[in-house]
Each structure stands twice: as C-alpha cells, then as structure tokens.
C-alpha cells in the first residue's frame, strides 16, 4: 500500500510485513490478500466481528497455520512460519486468549519454561531463573507478583501478566496480544493498558486485538479493520473514528438495516411459558431474569463468552452445582440437574456444533431422530418399527432432509442435512420451550433459511423459542425481542423494530459506566471451575 511505503520511507523500516496473505479452509476463504505492516514502537489494533479473519491472521503470524498464498517478512527476510517455534525464533511471540500456563508450577518456572537457565548445561540454575523472572515482571511493572506462587492460585489478571512475561522471555520484536482484556475487570484492564504502553516505549511492536472500541481508541496507534477475511480499512495514528470503524466492520449499508418485516407480536395476556428470576451461576452469569411468552422468539445476544450461552446450558440442566435463582416452565418450578430432567419438563435444546454435540454420526438417521422420543414410539416394552418409521418419514418430508434412506448413517449426509436431522430430533415432541444455541454455525445460506422457517413455525404453533447466535445479523431477522449480555449480565433489552444490528452492537460495545457492576465472571481464579457445565460436557467426550 502506498501510504505504508510512505511511512516506511519517512520512518524506520517495518519490523514485520505481511503481504497478500490468503487462507482457505475447505471452500471457505478465511483470509483474502491481507497486508499488514508493523513498525517498532507502535501498537497496531486489529478490529473485526467474529469470523472476520482476525484469528486466522494471528495464527498465520504465529506459525500455527500456513497461508495458501502470500508471505510474512520479518527483519527483511521473506518467509512464513512453518511452526509456532519458528515464529518465536524469528522474534514473534503471541499471548493467546487461552492461557498456556501450567497451574501447578510456580510463577518463575512458568515464565522461563523451556528456556531455563542451566549450570554446566545440566541442572536448572534456580537463582538465575528467579532473577530473570523478577526482571521480566519488573519490566512489566508487576514486581508485586510473588515468584514462588503456583500460577493456578493467581487471579486471572496476574496470570495474564505472567503469560506476557513468559512471551517476553524470548526477547521478541513483535508481540501479539489476542483479546487480552476480554476477561478482565476494569481496574485490571487499566493495568494491562499501562503494561502495553511500557512495551511500546521499549520499542517493540504490538498487535492488539480487542472488541472494546474504547480501549482501542486509547492505546492503538494504527488500526486495521477486517471483514469477511479482507482488510476493509485502516486508520492512521489519531484518525480513529468509532462510527466509521463500526461501519467498516459491518459493511457500508449497515445503517439501512431494515426494520423487521414481520409484525411484532402483541405480547398477550397469556401467562409466560418460561420465567427465569435472578438466575446466578458464579463466574458465568448473575441475576439473569427473563420471561418468554408462547409464540415469542427471544434472542440472547452478546460477544462470545459473556455468559449468554451458559444461561442456556444452565436451563437445560448442564450445570449440576452452584445454580441459584428460580426457573418456571408453564407455571411449574424446575431445578434442572440433567438434560433428562429438563426434557421431561418441556425443554428442547439444539446445540451449536453438530459434529461434537448434535448428532450420532455412526447411527442411522432413524436412530438419531427418535432418540429423544423413544417413549412416543413404544408399544408395551418394545419399540415399534412401524411407529418409528412413520414418525421419521414425516419429519424427513417436512424438513426436506436429503438422504438415500432413513437407515444410512448420519455421517454420510451433508452438513446442512445433518443439522436438519438434529432439529428433527426435537420436532418429534412438541416442546413448550425450544432453545437454539448457535444452530447455524457451519450451515449454508439455504439451510439457514430453512432453519429459520422451522423456528418461526415452532413459534407460530405456540412454543417459546430462546435463540443465541454468534452472527449478529440473525437477531433482527428472527427475534421479537433481544436481551444483550455483557460480562454475565443483561445490559439491555431491545424489542420489535429496535432490534437492529447497530442497536445490538451499540449495547455490546458501550463501555460500562464507572458505577456499573463488575461482572461476576472470572472474579476468582481462572484455574479450576468445579462443576461447570462446560467441564461437564467436555468430560463426557
């Protein structure tokens, strides 16, 4: 780019330059011809919606993924990094969102892991190790962290500083901070910003990724914006403008987001089908209250990891312990301790990842569809093949599932058809409440339209629907009302024509005021989360 060349002509040469990076996953182009250059002593922010290609770009720079085209030039050489190790050796360190520390090892051991100073090349020189660790922490202004504490006992914010110290122990020229603030409280964010400024003053180049526009305004020198895998714009130092950035992130015509075409359903005097009062799960969400009317589609929006998914998991009985608050379905109290119970109480749950959660790839289409409705196809103790196939054939027809026969394994169907089978599983019983948890991930546009039609049908037939998606554009297209989550709390409610992408985004990004409560999430330690539903699910894997 011309202006970048101008920059390089007037100032130092770039430490790192990515040129024309392209990456495809199957038929999807995650990154298309992206350029990026980094100069010493600058903070370069990357901005983009979920799925815009930020993580792919970071992974290529860090050597985790290899580009299909393009190259990364570092210190003049032309290369890309075949492994994370190669990237590190070339002077590029990454602090990922998920920390890569060993909870049972001490702070000093973690900082210098794999790079321990040795005596005679044999045993570890503990004194030098402690000294190096202390130096690195001090350079971050974090000398207050005790070198001998096991990292698992540190609060998340301190653990993150340890992670940064660990990255700095390799003396990198370029440091990538991937959403370092997403899990931090306001005071902790301040400290991280101070640390970032220090690193910049040391002459390093920093790639800073965050969804919070306020932080970016404060700390970034230059900002690059990605959308759908392309770099759609950038701001030079001092030129950043929030509204323009949102526009670039969402596309030029975002302001024209139409008011929903369907008429907003009158909320009838009919009693709510689902009432939730003050539902709290420590470290995930707190004081969540909502009610759902029959025939209503209620969206739970928020950036990833703001607790909205966990609320849905909790309703479905995936958190056995620690859940407080009141849940009523059609006037009856529910204490969900297992999906088995939740289903009996009238819930149906369509999960996000069809491969890992939704379907049994090795079992037949029939077996997949009837698994949640075995009580409906029984005659005495035996399952009736006749009743089974009648039920399955009807659903195959209704959802237009393309399969050679109902006896072929689910795994032999295309992705969209697999998702339809997973949905069909829950249409076998008329549940009063349907939970759709990011059901369109990895599903093509046609299948998505079909799925939306099904959801509207369910609502029209009198079920209540809770809907969560990582794609914001789906909320205006589908929902009667939207609750916006941030840091485990509902921070806003939008209804009817007010449900638009900009209004939702505005609630996402609006900085919490000084008096705003700090989210309950991650308040304690980041290490273990006993009894969490996520853990529960993973464990069963």
């Amino acid at each position: 780019m011309a202006d970048e060349e101008a920059h390089s002509a007037t100032a130092a040469k770039p430490l790192l330059a990515a040129v024309g990076l392209t990456k495809r996953f199957g038929g999807v182009t995650a990154l298309r011809g992206v350029d990026l250059s980094l100069f010493p002593g600058e903070v370069h922010a990357l901005l983009g919606a979920n799925g815009a290609g930020k993580s792919t770009l970071v992974k290529i720079l860090a050597g985790v993924e290899q580009p299909d085209a393009g190259e990364v030039r570092i210190a003049g050489g032309s290369t890309y990094f075949a492994t994370p190790h190669a990237a590190l050796a070339a002077g590029l360190a990454t602090v990922h969102q998920e920390l890569s520390l060993f909870p049972s090892l001490s702070v000093a051991e973690n900082i210098l892991i794999g790079r321990e100073p040795r005596r005679l090349g044999l045993w570890i020189d503990r004194r030098t190790m402690r000294r190096r660790g202390a130096e690195l922490l001090k350079s971050l202004g974090a000398a207050d962290i005790d070198l001998d504490t096991p990292v698992g006992e540190l609060p998340l914010a301190q653990a993150q500083l340890v992670e940064i110290a660990k990255a700095l122990s390799a003396e990198p020229l370029v440091l990538i901070l991937d959403e370092p603030t997403s899990a931090l409280s306001i005071a902790e964010v301040e400290r991280l910003i101070a640390v970032t400024e220090r690193l910049r003053a040391q002459g390093r180049a920093i790639i800073f990724i965050s969804h919070r526009l306020g932080e970016i305004e404060r700390i970034a020198d230059r900002v690059s914006i990605l959308r759908s895998g392309e770099k759609v714009g950038k701001f030079e130092p001092g030129a950043f403008r929030r509204d323009r950035a949102l526009q670039l992130m969402l596309g030029e015509n975002w302001q024209e987001a139409r008011p929903p075409e369907r008429c907003v359903q009158e909320r009838q005097a009919a009693p709510s089908i689902l009432t939730v009062e003050n539902l709290t799960l420590p470290r995930h969400f707190s004081a969540v209250s909502l009610d759902l009317a029959p025939g209503e589609v209620l969206g739970l929006a928020g950036l990833e990891g703001q607790g909205q998914k966990e609320v849905l998991f909790a309703l479905f009985g995936l958190f056995r312990r620690g859940l407080e608050g009141k849940i009523e379905i059609a006037g009856r109290r529910l204490h969900p301790r297992s999906p088995h119970q939740a289903i009996a109480a009238g819930l149906a749950f369509i999960p996000d990842d069809r491969k890992s959660l939704g379907g049994f790839l090795g079992l037949s289409v029939t077996q997949n569809i009837v698994i949640a409705a075995l009580d409906l196809v029984r005659s005495g103790p035996l399952l009736s093949p006749v009743a089974e196939s009648a039920l399955v054939e009807e659903l195959i027809h209704r959802l237009d599932i393309r399969c050679a026969s109902a006896d072929v394994p689910l795994g032999s169907l295309s992705g969209g058809n697999q998702q339809k089978v997973v949905v069909a599983k829950w249409l076998t019983r008329r549940a009063p409440v349907y939970i759709f948890c990011d059901p369109t991930r990895g599903v093509d546009a046609g299948a998505r339209a079909g799925l939306f039609a099904v959801i509207r049908e369910l609502a029209a037939a009198g079920s209540g629907v809770l809907f969560y998606s990582t794609d914001i554009s789906e909320f205006p297209a589908l929902c009667d009302r939207v609750l916006v989550f941030r840091e485990g709390r509902i921070v806003g409610t939008l209804a009817g024509a007010a449900v638009t992408e900009p209004t939702i985004l505005d609630l996402f990004f609006r900085e919490p005021g000084p008096g705003a409560p700090v989210g309950a999430r991650h308040k304690k330690e980041w290490g273990d989360q006993p009894g969490s539903g996520a853990e529960h699910v993973e464990h069963h894997e």
Partner: protein
C-alpha cells in the same frame, strides 16, 4: 483363518458389498466360526459326535452368558474386568451359604446380591468417580479376590452343591443341554433388548457419542448402572452354574474367564471403541473361542504352548477386527 474356506470367501465377495459394514463384520465372525469348526473336525472326528459337541455347547454357554454383560459394557465404550472373581466369590459364597441354611434358593439370592453389588461398585467408580473402567474393574476384581480369600480362610468350601445349579449346568430337556436352553433364552432377550428396547437405543447412543447422548436426554447414570449390574449378575450366575458343572466351588475357578469373553465380543464384530456391534456376532465369538480352546487341547499341546497359541490367535483376530473397524 479364512483361507481354510476359500469357496465361501470368494463367493461372498460380490455379495458383501450389499451389506452394511456392521453386517459384514457379523458375517465374517460366522465365517471364522465355520473355519474353526472345520479345523476342529480335521483335527479330530470327535467333533462330529453329539457327545463332544454337547460338551462344547455347555462350555460356550458359560462364556456366552458372561459375554452378554461384556457386550453391553463394550458397546457403551467401557469394559468389565471384574468377572473372574465375581464368578468365584458368587460360587463359593452361594454354595456355602445354601449348604449352611439348607435351602438352594439362598444360592440364587447370593448370586443376585453379589452381582448387583459388584455392578453398583463398578458404576460408582466408572460413572460417578470417572475412573477408567480398565483400571477400576480390574481393581474391583482384586478386591473380590481378597474377600474370597478371607472368607475361605475362615470357612472351607463345600461340595454340597444346590441341585438346581447342577441341573442348570448338567441337565437336559428332551436331549438338549439345559445350559444351552438357558443361553438361548438370554441370547434372544439380549438381542431383543439391543434392537427393540429403549435400553438398547440408549446403549448405542452412549457408545456413539456420550455428550450427544447426554444432550438428547439419555439418563447416562441409569444406563451405566444397568449395564454393569447386568454384567455382574451374568458373572455371578455363571459362577453358580460352574459350581454345579464341576460339583464344587473352589478358589480361582473364574480365572479362565477374564479375556475369553472379551475376545468373543471382538471376534463377534463389536468395536472396542463402543457404539457399534451387537450380540448376534458375540454368539459366534463365544463358540469360536470355545472351539479354539478345545482344538488346542485335542492337539495335546502343552499348557504353556497352548496359552501362547491361544494368545497369538486372539491377538491376530483382534488385530483383524480392529483394523477393519477403522
């Protein structure tokens, strides 16, 4: 093994493609059974006589009954290695207590109590505490061994065997061995349970993907408990039958029943990774294992070499099936 019957193998090839992989594996297990039987006959004409076959069928019954629980366990992706000393403890306790109280039904009560208790203990470790079933059930086996040793130190095993146990193991109903009738009955029930009961659907669902099963409302805890209790009951029941068969209960009588049932499940085409297979193949597997043992005995192979050969054959079969499974 298949080379022994080239006509079947070749003729079946074009047909095979019409069957699902699972059916193919079951067919293959019966081809192997046939091949082993042909080998047996080649070794000794005795295998054509009813008296020899009767003996083999009774032996196969013992393995086959244990294989029921083992098939369930492997289908949900677990394994039950607590079988040997469940057999022994149930036999020793059952016969002694029924002799003590002078009533043979006491023995059956003991079978149910021990089988149920072992099953629940295995559920506790494998499902509730989430210890790997290989480790947990093998440890339970050791624990049961200890209990049996303590008990027999205090009380000598009896030779007074309940009449019903003798009848189940040695009796006949119009020429057909009673043991075989028992096996046939439970086999039919097992196949029905796996194909037409809710329980069977739950088992395949769990074995296929436990997380999905959980999200589909499968009561994971109940199914695990039922599987391990059924496996424990099967082993305990076989213990009682074995005491009737050999007219005594003795320490170590279950030792030969650790791996053969698992071999039978694998030969029967059930995948050790779970979720795929069934009991119909396990029947062929149980018979194959028994014929294989009988053939090696007939060949007068010494005990040590017999074990080597048996182990090697099982290994290659397991390899054959596991490889096909991928």
């Amino acid at each position: 093994m298949t080379s022994a019957v080239p006509p079947e193998g070749e003729a079946a090839t074009p047909l095979l493609a019409r069957f699902s992989p699972r059916t193919q594996r079951v067919l293959l297990s019966y081809v192997i059974l046939l091949a082993i039987y042909v080998c047996c006959v080649a070794v000794s004409r005795d295998f054509l006589t009813w008296s020899t076959m009767r003996l083999q069928l009774v032996q196969a019954t013992f393995i086959g009954l244990i294989t029921i629980g083992e098939t369930f366990a492997i289908l949900i992706g677990q394994i039950d290695l607590s079988v040997p000393w469940t057999i022994t403890l149930s036999a020793v306790l059952g016969t002694n207590l029924s002799a003590l109280y002078g009533h043979q039904w006491v023995a059956f009560a003991v079978v149910i109590l021990i089988g149920g208790a072992v099953g629940l203990l295995n559920t506790l470790g494998v499902y509730v505490l989430r210890v790997h079933s290989l480790i947990w059930t093998l440890s339970v086996n050791l624990l049961l061994q200890g209990v049996a040793l303590i008990y027999t130190n205090a009380v000598a095993p009896t030779t007074h065997i309940p009449a019903l146990a003798r009848f189940l193991a040695l009796g006949s109903v119009s020429g057909v061995p009673m043991a075989f009738v028992v096996w046939a009955f439970f086999s039919a029930l097992t196949i029905l349970a796996l194909t037409r009961f809710r329980f069977g659907r739950y088992i395949y669902a769990i074995g296929n993907r436990q997380t999905t099963a959980l999200l589909s409302g499968v009561p994971l805890g109940r199914v695990h408990a039922l599987v391990f209790v059924l496996s424990g009951l099967g082993a305990a029941f076989v213990g009682l039958m074995l005491s009737g068969y050999s007219s005594q209960a003795y320490l170590g009588m279950g030792n030969d029943y650790l791996l053969p049932p698992i071999a039978a499940v694998v030969i029967g085409g059930t995948r050790l990774s779970g979720g795929d297979g069934g009991y119909f193949g396990s029947i062929a597997g149980a018979l194959t294992v028994v014929f294989l043992q009988a053939m090696l005995i007939t060949l007068n192979v010494s005990e040590g070499s017999r074990q080597v050969v048996f182990g090697a054959i099982l290994l290659s079969l397991a390899f054959l099936f596991l490889k096909r499974g991928r």
